[in-house]
């Protein structure tokens, strides 16, 4: 819905960069395997007559302090450098991924112990640990890379565990478990598809990090075994002759940068592809509607004491390339409950979002008027001409909104009571204690049985019905004249739904609210609404008193019944 839509050019560029990165990685792999054979000179052949030379036709990258060809040493050193990095990453992969997954399923004792061991490893810096290990076991590339590998393992452990944990917390896995699906099946169906991209991204990054660590260690003279060339060895010998050849570290340095950069670009590309798939999936849900230029068929019924007037409202999606709402007009009166019904994608939610100015990026109101008519001591407001500050004065004190899936509309990190207090104090000059007293009062008035307890709870600690009551309390906290409930009861079970609908009816009666109720449930309409607007493909195709529309238009009943 809030799909970020990069331009085609940018997406293509991203693809190209991924291809270049992949090409570089393949090139390095080839160098690692055949580098020694392809090298133009013997990487170990010394020539005392040509020491520390600059680039020339015979030696493209010059010669080192023993007159050896730098290009040949770079090429021949690729194998050992890449193998060193692979070794470190391989150790990390094996010691990280499986224990990481196991930590979710092998019980609490294992989980606790393995997490502590991982924590212990994470306290050790790569370079310091490598210094220590080479101090303990003697200075060799194997010792240095084993040390680095041991420290890469916790990274894999954490990443794998986090991805798997994130998955087990998602509702569909909880649901699958509730419906009795075995853990093994959940694991097979969902886990690997979620974790493998994460592991791929981590591996690309870890390889880059390992190569960089090797170069740091080489700078310190660790893991270097002259005369056998590695990129690190080249760097460390270059650094000894920095005063004569200040540019020399550039070649191995650039090569390491290039490989590390390619690996990181590849990691980004893998991640982006995942994100792009999600965007495509989101887009396929909304059905773009072509712009059709005709007048709304339904006429506007006269409403006594209107609070909201919408005239000829049009909403475009996909950055204006398609129109999804084709000019709708209606009014909502004080104390009136108006139902917006229609199948998914018929434009009812977009209409509500346009009224509250909460359209997602890429979605916009292209024409039409939206007005709060005021009266009863409040000013009329043109809702199409507001900036953010203007909206802040309208949302809350004039218009309240309640959404489907209420808990997600509350900040997960803040107790719900404090979020209500925040909303109260944003619109009125209230002291903390006064705001808290008012909040408890509001919680009581929306039927929460223990306001004090709810006040201190976090959104995840509330049931769906309680969260919706909290959201309603926040929505009416500014004493608005219009309340918009967008599928506010759809996700609740029947009993809780009835209670929440009852609450909404009471609020309308007691506060003289105008209520705009978006729903696809004709039962809700028949029970609660005074008037109904039927949406179909971005237009209002029928409207009238609820009982009349529901009774006289069985085709809508079928239509909507099929959609829900």
């Amino acid at each position: 819905m809030s799909a970020e839509r990069p331009g085609t050019l940018r997406r293509a560029l991203r693809l190209t960069s991924a291809r270049i990165a992949l090409g570089l990685v393949v090139l390095i792999a080839v160098l690692a395997v055949f580098g020694g054979a392809l090298a133009p000179h013997d990487p170990l052949a010394q020539d005392t007559s040509a020491v520390l030379q600059g680039p020339s036709w015979a030696h493209w990258l010059g010669t080192d302090y023993l007159g050896r060809d730098v290009l040949s040493r770079l090429m021949a050193g690729s194998g050992r450098s890449v193998v060193g990095a692979l070794e470190a990453v391989g150790i990390g992969l094996v010691l990280g991924v499986l224990p990481g997954l196991a930590s979710l399923w092998l019980g609490r004792v294992y989980e606790w112990v393995s997490l502590r061991i991982v924590d212990a490893f994470m306290t050790l810096p790569y370079v310091v640990f490598a210094v220590a290990v080479t101090g303990f076991f003697g200075n060799s590339l194997l010792a240095a890379m084993t040390a680095v590998g041991l420290l890469i393992a916790p990274l894999y452990f954490r990443v794998t565990r986090a991805a798997a944990l994130g998955l087990t917390r998602t509702q569909y896995v909880e649901a699958a478990e509730l419906y009795g699906a075995s853990r093994h099946r959940i694991l097979r169906r969902h886990l690997w598809s979620k974790i493998l991209p994460t592991i791929a991204v981590t591996t690309a990054q870890a390889l880059a990090a390992a190569l960089l660590t090797v170069s740091s260690l080489a700078f310190l003279g660790l893991g270097v075994q002259p005369p056998l060339p590695t990129w690190g060895e080249l760097l460390s010998s270059d650094l000894d002759y920095l005063s004569i050849q200040p540019w020399a570290p550039l070649f191995p340095g650039l090569l390491i940068m290039l490989v590390a950069g390619a690996l990181n670009a590849l990691a980004d590309a893998i991640r982006d592809t995942g994100a792009a798939a999600a965007i495509v999936a989101e887009q396929s849900i909304e059905t773009p509607v072509e712009v059709v230029d005709d007048a709304p068929r339904a006429t506007v019924a006269a409403v006594s004491d209107p609070v909201l007037r919408v005239g000829g409202l049009r909403v475009t999606v996909h950055d204006g390339r398609a129109e999804a709402v084709h000019g709708v007009s209606f009014e909502v009166g004080r104390g009136e409950i108006v139902g917006l019904v229609g199948e998914s994608g018929s434009g009812k939610t977009l209409t509500c979002r346009a009224i509250t100015g909460l359209l997602a990026p890429g979605v916009a109101r292209s024409a039409g008027s939206v007005e709060l008519l005021g009266g009863d001591g409040s000013e009329p407001v043109d809702l199409t001409a507001l900036d953010r500050a203007g909206w802040n004065a309208v949302r809350g004190p004039r218009v309240g909104v309640v959404f489907q899936d209420p808990a997600s509309y509350l900040n997960p990190s803040i107790p719900v009571g404090r979020q209500l207090v925040e909303a109260l104090r944003a619109h009125a000059d209230l002291s903390r204690t006064a705001a808290k007293a008012r909040a408890l009062e509001l919680f009581g008035s929306v039927g929460l049985r223990d306001p004090e307890a709810v006040f201190a709870q976090y959104p995840h600690e509330l049931s769906g019905g309680m969260a919706q009551r909290v959201l309603i309390a926040i929505a009416i906290s500014g004493d608005p004249e219009l309340l918009i409930a967008d599928e506010a009861t759809s996700a609740l079970d029947v009993l809780v739904q009835a209670e929440v609908l009852d609450l909404l009816r009471t609020l309308v009666r007691e506060r003289g609210l105008a209520l705009l109720l978006v729903t696809h449930d004709l039962g809700v309409v028949a029970e609660l609404c005074d008037r109904v607007l039927v949406f179909e493909a971005g237009r209002i195709v029928e409207q009238g008193p609820a009982s009349q529309v529901v009774a006289a238009a069985p085709e809508y009943t079928e239509l909507i019944g099929a959609a829900s």
Partner: protein, 323 residues
């Protein structure tokens, strides 16, 4: 507090055991190849190396906790004396580097998340990618060439303790700290951008807007609060990286820190000094982890619930399935 203590014990025991297993004992390093078996046995006994590993470890730990880390195999200087001189160098340097990383990375991350796709965003992203692929010492060399050689603004190496002259300390610490902070700043900027972009698309941000909260309040109190967690975690992970980077920075900028001590000891296989340096490193990292976790817990309390608590609400979960 039991967790950090356990982690401390595991980490110190692991590194101590590695030291003991490495075979770099004083007999081999000090006496040389021609030592008689009796002389080796005598020396091993003097250092207590003929006792079981666990006994050795706990004796060492007991002494360490009272400030006695043994003496160097080579110089006979108490390890705690050398570390006492070297540690303040690293602590002050790391603190400055962390400050740079948070300020630079935080500003860049927030800026690029708010102005997605803008020139600023693209520059930040390019700089971050570049920094992630540059070998750390190249950053240091570049900074030295720029600030010390070309512009002659700052010294290229050396050190004055903070307690002696804070102004001079800053002059000497500025370049190494900046070099150290580069990687951390890039990591924080990237993570903060990602998590902030994600947080800004969350329903609770829409919810905050629907309540009429100001854009600033929505950003800082709602979006950033939830987005800061991952960035803070990255910061926590960066502490060991910064200390690791300090080894390179100390060598490059000629700073008399713990890493220099460890590096010299490593090349001489001077086990007591290496173990002392590791102990101090582990201690510093653990303390900073505790600090990061304390902030994290205050910031996002809900993140600490176990998945098991979530499963205790089948009714709520089932209700949401129908959505």
């Amino acid at each position: 507090m039991s967790v950090p203590v356990t982690v401390f014990l595991i980490a110190t025991f692991g590194t101590y055991a590695l030291g003991a297993l490495g075979g770099a004992n004083p007999a081999a390093t000090v006496l040389g190849q021609d030592a008689t078996p009796a002389a080796i046995a005598n020396l091993n006994h003097r250092y207590g190396l003929d006792r079981p590993l666990l006994v050795q470890y706990f004796t060492w730990l007991e002494h360490a906790l009272t400030g006695n880390l043994g003496t160097s195999y080579f110089t006979s200087i108490p390890v705690s004396t050398s570390l006492g001189q070297a540690l303040p160098v690293d602590l002050s340097l790391a603190a400055l580097a962390l400050t740079f990383a948070v300020l630079l990375g935080g500003a860049a991350g927030i800026g690029s998340a708010l102005k997605r796709g803008s020139l600023l965003d693209r520059i930040v992203s390019a700089v971050c990618s570049a920094l992630a692929t540059v070998p750390p010492f190249l950053v240091g060399i570049t900074l030295i060439v720029l600030f010390a050689v070309i512009f002659r603004l700052l010294p290229s190496g050396g050190y004055v303790p903070f307690t002696q002259d804070p102004g001079q300390w800053l002059r000497f610490a500025f370049l190494p700290a900046l070099a150290l902070s580069a990687e951390g700043a890039a990591a924080i900027a990237r993570q903060l951008r990602t998590s902030l972009v994600g947080a800004l698309q969350e329903n609770y941000v829409l919810g905050a807007a629907a309540r009429g909260l100001s854009a600033r309040r929505t950003l800082f109190r709602h979006a950033l609060r939830n987005a800061a967690g991952p960035a803070l975690t990255v910061l926590g992970v960066q502490v060991p990286a910064i200390i690791g980077g300090a080894v390179v920075a100390e060598k490059m900028f000629a700073l008399p820190g713990v890493a220099q001590l460890a590096l010299t000891a490593g090349s001489e296989r001077d086990v007591p000094v290496i173990q002392g340096a590791l102990l101090v490193t582990i201690g510093v990292v653990l303390v900073s982890n505790i600090a990061v976790n304390a902030v994290l817990l205050r910031l996002t309390p809900h993140a600490r619930r176990s998945p098991r608590t979530a499963r205790r609400r089948p009714a709520a979960a089932a209700a949401e399935v129908g959505a």
